[in-house]
């Protein structure tokens, strides 16, 4: 099996394409901070360079990789318009694929203020909102919110986590109908597009995750009884 750097940023060691203005940089992501993105073994292409558009350059890069021209490049994170794994541009037909979303921001060490997003990566159905609000009210712990996350394990490789906790450092915080949703940074990439529903019925009641990005799911990992 591979050796994965659990303590590092999810993009560490991953070949990415970073778009900044009319320049695309492809390289292996070494480090991300709030201010910069460091790529190693990198190549850069500017729109029209060598008679190729950026889309044509990315299409070939995604199929075959790039010729290294820079051992190390440090990019201004604030100037990037997108940052995504190069494999997300891959199309088996050879065409160019535009990644659906840029990678989530890097974890920020020592963040004093919670990070918030106006466009939430997760959504809750009205039934889920009502049940979470009811349970939080019953807990009578005003600093608690709904924590959603993922962890390794389960039949399909990842399992969802749902609990009520206080905010932790580095959390992404989402305001939702009077309560807060906390997402740890490492889980955000897996939770984008996920919906949380609450079902009542003959089959019992419980929270149920829906994930449009999942390629494989199992019944036992989907539903959480409370």
């Amino acid at each position: 099996m591979g050796t994965f750097h659990d303590t590092r940023d999810p993009l560490h060691g991953i070949t990415v394409a970073a778009v900044m203005g009319d320049t695309v940089t492809v390289g292996r992501c070494h480090e991300r901070t709030a201010g910069s993105v460091v790529l190693v073994d990198a190549d850069q292409h500017t729109e029209g360079e060598g008679g190729k558009t950026n889309a044509e350059y990315l299409s070939r890069a995604a199929r075959f990789g790039v010729w290294k021209k820079h051992d190390r490049l440090e990019l201004d994170a604030a100037a990037l318009t997108s940052l995504a794994p190069l494999k997300d541009y891959f199309s088996s037909t050879g065409g160019t694929v535009v990644p659906k979303e840029s990678a989530p921001p890097p974890p920020e060490a020592g963040t004093a203020e919670p990070q918030t997003e106006s466009s939430s990566p997760v959504s809750l159905t009205p039934a889920a909102v009502a049940e979470v609000a009811r349970l939080l009210a019953a807990e009578e712990k005003p600093d608690h919110g709904l924590r959603l996350g993922v962890a390794g394990g389960g039949c399909s490789g990842l399992t969802y986590q749902l609990e009520f906790t206080p905010r932790r450092e580095g959390d992404l915080v989402i305001s939702q109908d009077g309560f807060s949703i906390f997402l740890d940074r490492k889980s955000v990439i897996y939770l984008r597009g996920v919906s949380l529903d609450f079902e009542k019925g003959l089959g019992g009641k419980g929270f149920r995750f829906g994930n449009p990005n999942a390629t494989n799911t199992c019944g036992c990992g989907e539903s959480f009884a409370v």
């Binding site: 099996m1 994965f4 070949t15 199929r63 990789g65 010729w67 494999k87």
Partner: protein, 139 residues
């Protein structure tokens, strides 16, 4: 600079113990491609745990597939430098990438999986992509 041989020996053995031929010199690369025809798979091995650590078991899984290349070989990037350089000459204008997987028909490169399609993925996912390619190439 190559790593100590005792460190990489298990990474070689993971492949050679399953019948994958290791090519340690340019001559061995030339001989492998000169003496065989049909589909051949060449894994450019690497010490990188994040990517090669998944690529090696993926190759072993893909070898179990019904449709597959007739011959499997490997060169070790960063270790057997001259053999790897010779193998890369056969890949034309494809940029160096390790680990990577190249499939040749005779001496012509017909399929290539660069590192960025390996890293961060499970052996099962990588093997799935390889066997899909085998199905196309062997049809």
């Amino acid at each position: 600079m190559p790593y100590p041989e005792q460190m990489v020996a298990p990474m070689r053995a993971e492949l050679t113990s399953s019948g994958i031929q290791e090519l340690r010199s340019p001559d061995e690369v030339d001989t492998f491609f000169r003496d065989g025809s049909g589909l051949s798979l060449l894994l450019v091995n690497s010490v990188c745990g994040c990517a090669a650590g998944s690529a090696r078991p993926a190759i072993l899984q893909a070898m179990e597939h019904g449709k597959r290349p007739q011959r499997f070989a490997t060169v070790f990037a960063g270790q057997d430098l001259e053999a790897t350089a010779r193998a890369r000459e056969l890949m034309g204008d494809v940029p160096p990438s390790s680990p990577s997987v190249a499939v040749f028909r005779d001496q012509e490169l017909v399929h290539f999986m660069p590192r960025h399609l390996i890293e961060g993925r499970s052996p099962e996912e990588i093997a799935g992509d390889l066997t899909a390619a085998f199905d196309t190439l062997c049809s």
